[in-house]
């Protein structure tokens, strides 16, 4: 039990602000503790317990947040580096709250899905789960920080556990992928640091003493000249565009996703990448409204190019994990279009997309992982007709795929529809081009499903695993006699996702209600009158 940080020195809204500190510290301290556990089983159980506790903590946080209340809630602040006006300040708006909820929801699922993973030779189970939990703390910090410097610190801090998760626990080319991921993100982070310092300098000129408080900066910087805004905007934008990732800064993602262990990949595409799109919303739009408006056409071009390019490349992939990564790149194109179309519908749709994508693509990644766990190969061409052997896995692969192609009745439809219908009135050409992405999504999902699941049983991986040892490259799966359908653990991992995908497809109001006022407030900075 840890109660030390519950009462910070400066508390602006004392009521429930300790919840955010708990959400930050439970996985951080829990992760450190798990690192010292020697026994694999104990480590897994402890990690799962901590992740479930974290999920339980999300519930009172969700309840304590009042959508009709002030812009940032549950906020608290302590001095950190007084000389530079830096604070340890946490708080949430509707957008960050939804992302924190997504983290709380996905983490137990990720841990459950990694339960039976075989780690590379000599790697400690405790270390793996400790890194997962530390990364969770870092991600919570990114979404809860209300001080720009604190945000930057968390933004960079999540790189470290991710680097080790890919580099130590990943696939054959893990070192290459991890370094590539690290360098890309680090480069983006450093460029952003330039802009963070710029913010401090400019606010110092204006206010007499510099500050990095988000709320103050949004009022100060948004009054700055177009040129100042543009330069500062670009620093943040590049960092976020690498993170999201937008084409052409995307090539680290397929490598990282392909080499990462499945659970880590879920966190990578499900949450970590959303830091980029979250950054657009939380930092680019409110702090640099003039620059955001000015550069919106450019971002829309990147978004539409990305959603078409990602979809075409997804069609051409033979590696299942790279396939999922490219579908994500296409989806991030949609999110970028939604954000920079600046309408209540499109931005709400983009935020909802960020949440929904975590569920649907997270599920697709998990299902793909379950396919790979059975056949021992990541290549689509090594499979075929698998639904015959594993009908339940086949059915759930299709459910995840249909959510990925935004079929109405699944959660993703609502978000994609909102993005497009919201973008159409002001940006008809981009909206119409983006609808081509809908056709391509059907193509890449159904083609992958056809090749892996449909038809007679075929493919080296399946036939090899069925015949017994020696027939397949990966020996540990080849020795297995036959291929089994989903077991109870796998069903337990996927069930909450399936339920949410369908329920939110018909009843997205609980999330739309929470994000609505924050979206309006964000838009208000770009379009002073609000609305369309």
């Amino acid at each position: 039990m840890n109660t030390a940080p519950v009462v910070p020195a400066v508390t602006t809204s004392p009521s429930a602000s300790f919840l955010l500190w708990l959400l930050l510290l439970v996985p951080l301290l829990g992760g450190i503790a798990v690192a010292f556990l020697r026994d694999a089983k104990t480590a897994k159980l402890a990690a799962l317990g901590i992740a479930l506790l974290e999920f339980v903590l999300v519930i009172p946080t969700w309840i304590a947040y009042d959508p009709a209340g002030s812009r940032i809630q549950l906020s608290s602040s302590m001095d950190w580096i007084p000389n530079f006006g830096v604070h340890l300040a946490l708080g949430v708006d509707g957008i960050s709250l939804v992302m924190i909820a997504l983290i709380g929801l996905l983490m137990p699922i990720v841990i459950g899905s990694s339960w039976a993973d075989k780690l590379p030779e000599g790697r400690s189970v405790g270390g793996f789960y400790a890194l997962l939990l530390v990364m969770q703390a870092g991600m919570i910090g990114v979404f809860a920080a209300t001080d720009v410097f604190l945000f930057y610190v968390f933004f960079e801090a999540v790189l470290v556990p991710m680097y080790f998760l890919i580099g130590r626990f990943g696939g054959p080319r893990r070192q290459y992928a991890a370094v590539k991921f690290f360098l890309y993100s680090l480069l983006g982070g450093l460029i952003m640091l330039g802009s963070v310092i710029g913010l401090y300098v400019v606010s110092g000129d204006k206010l007499g003493s510099g500050t990095l408080d988000w709320a103050t900066l949004t009022t100060v910087i948004s009054q700055e000249s177009q040129a100042t805004q543009t330069w500062l905007f670009l620093g943040f934008f590049v960092a976020f565009a690498i993170k999201a990732p937008l084409v052409p800064l995307h090539t680290w993602l397929p490598d990282a996703a392909a080499e990462a262990p499945v659970g880590v990949g879920v966190l990578l595409v499900g949450i970590l990448d959303k830091i980029g799109t979250y950054g657009f919303l939380r930092y680019c739009l409110p702090m640099f409204p003039a620059a955001s408006k000015d550069l919106a056409p450019l971002v829309l071009v990147l978004g539409v190019a990305g959603l078409l390019y990602g979809a075409l490349l997804a069609t051409g992939q033979n590696d299942m994990k790279r396939f999922v990564a490219y579908t994500s790149i296409a989806h991030f194109g949609f999110i970028a279009v939604g954000i920079f179309a600046f309408s209540s519908q499109s931005v709400s749709g983009a935020v909802l997309y960020m949440f929904n994508h975590g569920l649907s693509t997270g599920m697709l990644f998990l299902v793909v992982g379950m396919v790979i766990a059975r056949g021992g190969s990541t290549l689509i061409s090594d499979y075929g007709g698998m639904a015959k052997l594993t009908p339940l896995l086949g059915g759930l692969f299709l459910v995840a795929g249909l959510a990925g192609l935004s079929l109405p009745g699944t959660n993703s439809f609502v978000s994609e529809f909102l993005v497009l219908i919201g973008a159409y009135p002001s940006r008809p050409v981009f909206a119409i081009l983006a609808t081509i992405g809908m056709i391509l999504a059907a193509l890449y999902v159904l083609w992958a499903y056809q090749r892996i699941m449909h038809g007679p049983v075929r493919g080296d991986a399946l036939l090899g695993a069925l015949k017994g040892p020696g027939a397949v490259a990966a020996p540990e799966t080849a020795t297995r006699q036959g291929i089994k359908d989903l077991d109870a653990r796998e069903i337990a991992v996927l069930t909450p996702l399936v339920v949410l995908i369908i329920v939110l497809g018909f009843y997205p109001a609980p999330i739309l209600d929470v994000i609505g006022p924050s979206v309006e407030a964000t838009l208000h900075s770009v379009i002073p009158l609000g609305g369309n």
Binding site: G198, L402, L446
Partner: protein, 642 residues
Amino acid sequence: MAGAAWLVVAFPLLGALILLVGGKRTNAWGHLLGCATIAASFVYGLILFFSTTGQEEAARTSEVSLFSWIPVDQLQVDFGLRIDPLSITFLLLITGVGFLIHVYSIGYMAHEPGENDRRRFFGYFNLFVAAMLILVLGNGFVTLYLGWEGVGLASYLLIGWYTDRPSAATAAKKAFLMNRVGDVGLAIAIFIMFKVVGSTQYTAVFDGVANGAFSSGELVALTLLLLLGACGKSGQFPLQAWLPDAMEGPTPVSALIHAATMVTAGVYLIARSNPIYTASPDGRLVVVIIGAVTLVIGCVIGCAYDDIKKVLAYSTVSQIGYMILAVGLGPFGYALGIMHLLTHGFFKAGLFLGAGSVMHAMNDEVDMRKYGGLARIMPVTFVTFGLGYLALIGVPPFSGFFSKDAIIEAALGQDETWRAWVFGGAALLGAALTAFYMTRLVLMTFFGEKRWKDIKSSDGREFHPHESPSVMTIPMIVLAVGSVGAGAFFAIGDTFTEWLAPTVGVLEESHHHVIPHAVVPWLTVGLSLLGVLLAWLFVGRKRVPLSKPEPVPFPVRAARADLYGNHFNELLIARPGTWLTRALVYIDNKWVDGLVNGTAALLGGSSGRLRRAQTGFVRSYALSMLGGSILLIAALLAVRFA
């Protein structure tokens, strides 16, 4: 009564849920549950029907809001039902014909490959009915879109039912993709509606049309985009190629989804959007053109196929062409299109079930050249199929005569003389061609010598044709009764057009006749009989060879190749798409990635360092830091001196 109308959708949805989630535990009784849910919906539909028929015109329409689906600021998408004569008509067709085909499937699917999966088949079938009901009962364009893609999913799952056939998977994917092309049209139409009137509900959009909120350009755009959606779903030119391939699915699927209900959704869409089409004569002209073109090409290709299901599929394409032509005539044709849709729902479903019965008897063989002389062996199938045949070719007093003749009269009654001649002429030509290919089909299947006696089926079995069990023949008999009587029931005394009037407006009658009014029915029937005669001359009095005659003149070759529709798609879309994808994969790996790696390597000193990352990592890190710092300082300077 309307307040609880959601039950109509809930029954089959619950059925689908139980059958698909329940798994093997429901194997024993799954098919019975599947039928029961549809029967329950049908009964409730009848209650709704009888509670509205007696009412005043205005009282026949009611809306039930169930919950707020997508509420964001100005956009308020309501999930609700609209109960009016048009939706009740469809409700009864879908659940009525749907129930009969469900019952038939109990027998048909019992002996199909994967028989343990019969309950999953019923799960998909129930899912289809639920989605189709949402499509027709929804109270806005977004609920329609939900049903629209929902039936597309059910269709995808059922076309790909026979998982042993790779062709089934390809056909299923093709159907979904070509439908999505149409769906994009529907989606963009919805965006325009939201932009102009701020809503996607039927009432708000149609009020907007009435108030002149839409410019004429926007109206034309709407009509064309909705038509694109209709073309995708209803297999109309130029998106017709998926429908014949969809015959890869089990025959009951072809009967229910790809003949009687789903593929007619395009006609529903246009009839439902009648205020938009009425306001845009230019848009309607395009609809008429598409309908006329499709009905002719469907007939032409139907004449050339030997696969019994594909002939019926092209017949469906062409008959829906008639319906699209009819609704394109606007106030002169909305009700007629729907009437033909209903009679077609009966007789075409009956014909498909008959074809299924024949295939059942013939070891799943679909090649009519291997049939022959089946009339006496399968008397019930023959008689019911024959009645459906007479209805389809429009012999009075069978149902198709009333509904098709009305469309031909309306097409000939258009004000502009050239339109009357061109489109009326196409409809008349279609009538003759329909009689030809259907007579050819009946002659090759039921008459002539028993060509199957001396050959074996492709799986090496001998043919022992037999009549189907009564669980299959009874639905066929019921549908045959409908094929006989429905037309007269609807048409005589204008019962049906008056019933629909609250939704699609009062049917207008033309006073402009290029061919005298009284002559048209005679002309239609005469042309049909000519088609029958020609079929007898070409097919009936000759021996039917077991293999296709070769060489044949160009028109026959073209028809056998679907008039090159697939070649066209392949050449213009599929192949360039494949090359584009391959090129992009190459570019992404070599150039985009290379460019970025190269930049990083530039910072890191050499490109090898990035790949031998274990050793070079620290130095790369340091150099990246340096590079980043340089950028940082540059940014700072820029800010200060900007």
